[in-house]
Symmetry: C2
Subunit: 483 residues, 2 copies
């Protein structure tokens, strides 16, 4: 680990502790306690996900945690991929169980036995469901709050379709949902089609959703999978077609995890602490009374009125009336990333103003009381745009185009490397070994045109050549050290 | 099981299946799949709980699922109570774990090691947190959807206080919260102080929250526990007092489970299916277009406008524009318990009216379009009041006062028996054996005056005498067969 990375993790761990996000002193490694402020943030992220899923006609369900060993074992690749990282329940009460149960690492093998009962005819398709649950993976690497944990807060959507094309349309819809959700979280991201050896266990192909952390490494936030009929065959999920024949469904999944919280902390945070996107900030505005001994009550009452007005306008507002100096309160709420602060003192009251301070820029404004709500709303939008813009600039600056593995070596570890690859396993292996990095995959999704043009603008318009063997290719891939 | 009970369970199981509440074909006994409609209902109940907890300054947290065996074993009574019904994780991946982990049956032993770190001084008190999670108990009796399951959707509040009196005040607040939540669910209930042998494992005393099901048996929906210092001592949760001395905190808990869903189904349902309380109905209004071939589009558009207007007024509204006859749609949504139905046909459009139909009474009204929103809101309130009123009348009628065990024998199994008890274990045992029923406990909570007066009005004003031994006593107890 570089000094820079170590510095980042120290900052990250401190902020998680000091801003009351999570407590990692729970006596099981990698299983952390969500403290109220962090849990509220997470529930608000969940709400963004729910809204996006409901507006695209996905139904929310909740499947059991425990999966019987025989159901889990039905899809051979899947069990191979997960066997080394599942928790096994072997006993209940004083009895040994006849069939061992595992804690879901993901819910394919819990859901699909039921899907085979739910899907009968093409009228039942598409089936689009999702759930928000905790999943479990026995991580053996070093754990990190939100980023590598053993109990994972998780969102997973599962769909069944009449054919491959309809499943592909679902994946396009998923990509639009990713764009919507990530915009609310002000997080830039890259989509790439994972190489075959790195796809999800059982998938036909996998799209990864990655962002760039201040460590120079990428963080996978989620993924979208095309399963084709890989699961529907062993789980016998089939429907009757108009002609009476039976056909196995085509399936997709789309999942994201609490890594979104880790990304929000890492990507937006600064030396003062968290900087939260307004859409998911537990408090969007904190009101701080500036008291003078003789007129304490009036100022406090006015602050309460302000809080009420904000709440009525649908803004999450908190009033800090603790017996502390204003500076201490500023410090406290800046650390917790509250997007806007309103200060109100006797002079502001007299002149019918409030002071509005932005967390992202530190900008301080005098706002007339009458314009308060509209100005707060306007600045929440501006903060969202600004957070996304500056994070996107960092991500884009973090993508280095190279056309040879020697050039790549010089920038390895400083972000994401974009180059041409012939597609062969040998060249991939060499890239990964020489750079001590992973191939994230081929460009995909809405940003691929941008990066393809970017590559051309630097390397030239001719045929691209594999950075390792020099063979002609049209594959452009992202490579990075990953978390 | 009596024929009446069997009939009820047949109805109950059918309605759960037909109204898309839950699917019990999951391949682990007692672990059911929440289907979209049932899960939405449950999330709306959770929302009522969240609102009540937040307005009483409880913070929401989320603790890990897995508890290490050594933490679990710290409070002797607690482990004795739960040892025979916990699920054990003994292996992870290919390894056997050094310390076995259990799936939380309840979260005392997960939370309290952290509470001992969180509580330092009296400024940290009271500590009031809650969580909404699934818990696990290895039930060996016959399982029943929502009522006796092995994975349980669960709400649990945990508090720490400076002394016993403050903990007692918390219990009073909990009783007010119970009243608020149960009012929204239109569920009448009884509070009773459980006899010592039936209190929660580790508690100083337990208050049970019971309702009466149509089977004539009571169903415990939740409970409130006074722990005193029973847990704070083994878990070393203490605070520094002003004088520098250290004192163990006093603790309480309050929990309710998905049995609330079972009670809503059982208590309010009728021969047509579910009757849902408006506050938690996934759809509060269903709009059914009555189509005539020539003016289909106009009617459909107007129905969509109605749905939009309802949604804007904060009412959960669904439009059923499937290609089915209206009668089939009525049947479909009556079964699912939607509180109000709006029908709109060409003639209603012409006269600027809608037809409004109540699920609870079947009442059908012509309502002018201009009054629609206010009339819908008014009738949702009326439905809530009516559901609570008729359920409360049934509960009150189900409480039989007797003054001897012989009289009790004649009404055993027909509801709840109220009588005087001296408090001795011997008399209790005799009551329970002779009646094949359980002592719920002594009257407690806001309804105890009502039932005490009711007892006096039948048995007389003199000193009460134990129904078994005849000794004078002031203890009045509820006895019932329970689920």
């Amino acid at each position: 680990m570089t000094g820079h990375e170590e510095e980042f993790w120290n900052w990250y761990n401190d902020i998680i502790e000091n801003a009351d996000i999570s407590d990692k002193r729970y006596p099981v490694k990698g299983m952390n306690v969500w403290r109220p402020y962090g849990w509220k943030l997470t529930l608000l992220i969940d709400e963004q996900i729910r809204n996006a899923m409901e507006s695209t006609d996905h139904d929310e369900v909740c499947f059991p945690l425990l999966i019987p060993e025989d159901q889990f074992a039905k899809e051979a690749e899947h069990i191979k991929g997960f066997n080394s990282e599942v928790y096994w329940v072997t006993h209940a009460g004083l009895n040994e169980l006849d069939i061992k149960l595992l804690l879901r690492p993901t819910s394919e093998t819990a859901m699909y036995p039921l899907f085979s009962l739910w899907v009968r005819s093409h009228a039942d398709l598409p089936l689009k469901v999702f759930q928000l649950v905790n999943t479990f993976r026995y991580e053996t690497k070093q754990t990190r709050s939100f980023i590598r944990v053993r109990e994972i807060h998780f969102f997973e959507a599962h769909t069944c379709h009449v054919d491959y094309e309809d499943a592909e349309r679902q994946i396009q819809e998923d990509l639009e949902i990713v764009e919507d959700i990530m915009k609310e979280l002000c997080l830039p991201y890259l989509i790439s089609k994972r190489p075959d050896w790195d796809k999800f266990a059982g998938a036909y192909y996998t799209l990864g959703i990655d962002t760039l952390m201040p460590t120079g490494r990428t963080l996978q936030l989620g993924s979208i999978h095309q399963y084709r009929q890989n699961f529907s065959k062993p789980y016998e999920i089939k429907y009757e077609k108009d002609d009476g024949a039976h056909e196995y469904v085509h399936q997709t999944t789309y999942g994201m995890s609490e890594r979104l919280v880790g990304a929000i902390i890492g990507v937006h945070g600064d030396e003062k602490g968290l900087v939260l996107p307004p859409k998911v900030a537990p408090y969007q505005v904190v009101v701080v009374p500036i008291l003078r001994k003789d007129i304490t009550t009036e100022v406090l009452n006015e602050c309460k009125k302000i809080q009420e007005e904000l709440k009525e306008a649908g803004i999450r507002a908190h009033i800090d009336n603790r017996d502390l100096r204003p500076g201490n309160k500023y410090y406290h709420w800046e650390m917790r990333g509250v997007p806007l602060r309103i200060e109100l003192g006797p002079r502001d009251m007299e002149s019918n103003h409030v002071i509005l301070v932005r967390r992202d820029t530190g900008e301080k404004m005098q706002v007339s009381r009458a314009d308060m709500i509209s100005t707060v709303n306007e600045h929440m939008d501006k903060i969202s745009s600004n957070l996304l813009k500056r994070a996107r600039e960092k991500l884009e600056a973090g993508v280095k185009v190279v056309d040879s593995i020697d050039d790549a070596r010089e920038v390895a570890g400083e972000g994401i490397i974009l180059f041409a690859w012939c597609g062969s396993y040998d060249c991939a292996e060499q890239i990964e070994i020489v750079l001590n990095a992973s191939i994230l995959g081929e460009l995909a999704g809405k940003h691929s045109d941008y990066y393809r043009n970017h590559y051309r603008s630097i390397v030239g318009d001719g045929e691209h050549r594999c950075a390792v063997c020099g063979l002609g290719t049209d594959k452009l891939v992202f490579v990075a050290r990953t978390h």
